[in-house]
């Protein structure tokens, strides 16, 4: 965690000094980007709710869900977030909000359908841990760098276009020079964006493990969250139902299992592989019993 932030800061400084060296007025860009990020953070709950189609639901609409959330909140001395439901069969859940008051925990109807009460508790506790740990803020801060880099990249592209289209106008020498600087900015911005993109994902994966751990502590039943994760991801379906004696002839047992979840895939994903999360949860379960 600290390591990730150290790298981010270093990256940020290098990025700034390169810009300064090139004599770009980076302050205006930075100001605009910061304003946008602040706005993004401030309205994050509304943006996320709107874009996901989640509707905040009252106690009258979903009494059992409200009871369930209140049980966990009361036991763990947290403040109760608003509860939202998304009408889709895809089982999923998320938490959003910049602070304790504006937080929302959203679940899909698909999730409510496939999980039993204790599994749902595990998932809700996971989301509540995200809120308690202020993960939205952490990730917003972390994405500051990549956002700035992103805007600069756009800026660089347009600059490149204008520079490239400038044949026949003005001084050839100056044109070539300007194009070169633009190219450097573009490259540095792209590099910054790419690296911070990877780091954000690393942080995000770490926060997921932390939220799993928090959920396990809140409910005391990590196995339930593990079950829920397997149901959501469809891992449950991977447990075969065909009899061993039927498949024996297929010789499937000699085949070395394909590299499941390549390292590259891991680098890019925001969530750790379900197998790893389940494994860690089961280790917690083992140490609890």
């Amino acid at each position: 965690m600290i390591f990730s932030f150290a790298i981010l800061t270093l990256l940020y400084l290098i990025f700034l000094s390169v810009l300064a060296y090139l004599g770009i007025g980076y302050i205006p860009i930075l100001l605009i980007a910061s304003a946008m990020i602040l706005a993004q953070w401030y309205f994050s709950d509304k943006i996320v709710l709107w874009s996901s189609g989640a509707k905040v639901v009252s106690r009258e609409q979903y009494p059992e869900l409200h009871d369930l959330v209140e049980r966990i909140v009361a036991r763990n001395n947290l403040s109760k977030p608003r509860i939202a439901v998304i009408d889709t069969d895809m089982p999923n859940a998320f938490a959003t909000g910049r602070g304790k008051k504006s937080s929302v925990v959203a679940v899909t109807t698909g999730l409510l359908n496939i999980l039993d009460t204790e599994e749902l508790e595990g998932v809700v506790a996971h989301e509540l841990t995200h809120i308690r740990n202020r993960d939205a803020l952490v990730l917003t801060l972390a994405s500051l760098f990549s956002t700035v880099a992103w805007y600069l990249m756009q800026f660089g592209f347009y600059g490149g276009l204008y520079g490239g289209g400038g044949y026949g106008y003005g001084n050839d020498d100056r044109d070539r020079n300007g194009g070169g600087i633009m190219l450097i900015i573009l490259l540095v911005a792209m590099l910054t964006w790419a690296i911070s993109f990877l780091i954000i994902r690393a942080i995000s994966r770490y926060r997921e493990f932390a939220a799993d751990r928090g959920s396990a502590q809140m409910t005391g039943k990590p196995v339930k969250l593990a079950n829920a994760l397997m149901k959501i991801s469809g891992t449950m379906r991977r447990i075969p139902t065909k009899d061993l004696r039927e498949v024996e002839g297929l010789n499937a047992f000699f085949i070395v299992p394909a590299l499941s979840g390549s390292t590259i895939g891991n680098l890019f994903s925001t969530h750790p592989p379900v197998e790893k999360r389940v494994q860690k949860l089961m280790e917690m379960e083992a140490s609890m019993s």
């Binding site: 449950m236 447990i239 061993l244 089961m282 083992a286 019993s289």
Partner: protein, 194 residues
């Protein structure tokens, strides 16, 4: 050929080693999950036609007859609808069961049928649940000879299984015995003749 045989012998030794890891792991199961070994276990071997196989079958029976008193075990054999020969043995002590299972494995290996060995199954019952139905709360560890590792199998009624309890067994034993971490290999064995 020699190399190949040695390789196979080595692989087979690995089978016995893996199975013997249960000699301490079954205590872990009892302490952590309250599962008690019932003393019943079984081996399934793909039956093939021919004299050699029936000779081997007789050898196994002779061996078990001879060791009845030494290991204090009883046994029976059946052939199931899939065409598998089952040797079901019952003994008081886990050590005797393991000795019996690995000795049968040795015999099968010596007769050249080691590739016909499918699985060894160990039965456990849950102390915590009041046993009202005889076979309803039986839990199994299946040892797959080809994968050389164990996985849990807990049938609940009609072709259903208790995945949650199976996960608990994984977390209790995962470090202690060679365990099948890839759940897509957790093949069930319905209607076990134990």
């Amino acid at each position: 050929m020699n190399f190949f045989r040695r390789f196979k012998k080595h692989a087979f030794k690995a089978n016995s080693d893996a199975i013997f890891s249960l000699s301490s792991a079954y205590i872990t199961l009892e302490i952590k999950l309250g599962l008690k070994n019932t003393g019943r276990s079984a081996m399934s071997i793909k039956a093939v036609d021919g004299m050699h196989f029936s000779v081997m079958r007789e050898d196994i029976q002779h061996f078990l007859d001879a060791s009845k008193t030494e290991f204090n075990l009883s046994y029976r054999t059946i052939t199931d609808s899939y065409g598998y020969l089952w040797v079901i043995i019952e003994a008081k002590h886990m050590e005797d069961i393991l000795a019996g299972i690995t000795s049968i494995g040795d015999t099968v290996y010596e007769k050249g049928f080691s590739d016909k060995l499918l699985a060894a199954i160990f039965q456990f019952s849950n102390n915590n649940i009041e046993s009202n139905n005889n076979n309803n709360n039986m839990q199994y560890l299946i040892y797959n000879y080809k994968r050389n590792n164990f996985y849990p199998f807990i049938p609940t009624g009609q072709k259903n299984r208790d995945t949650e309890q199976e996960m608990k067994i994984l977390s209790a034993l995962g470090q202690e015995v060679p365990f099948e971490k890839d759940m897509s290999f957790w093949y069930p064995m319905w209607d076990l003749p134990l």
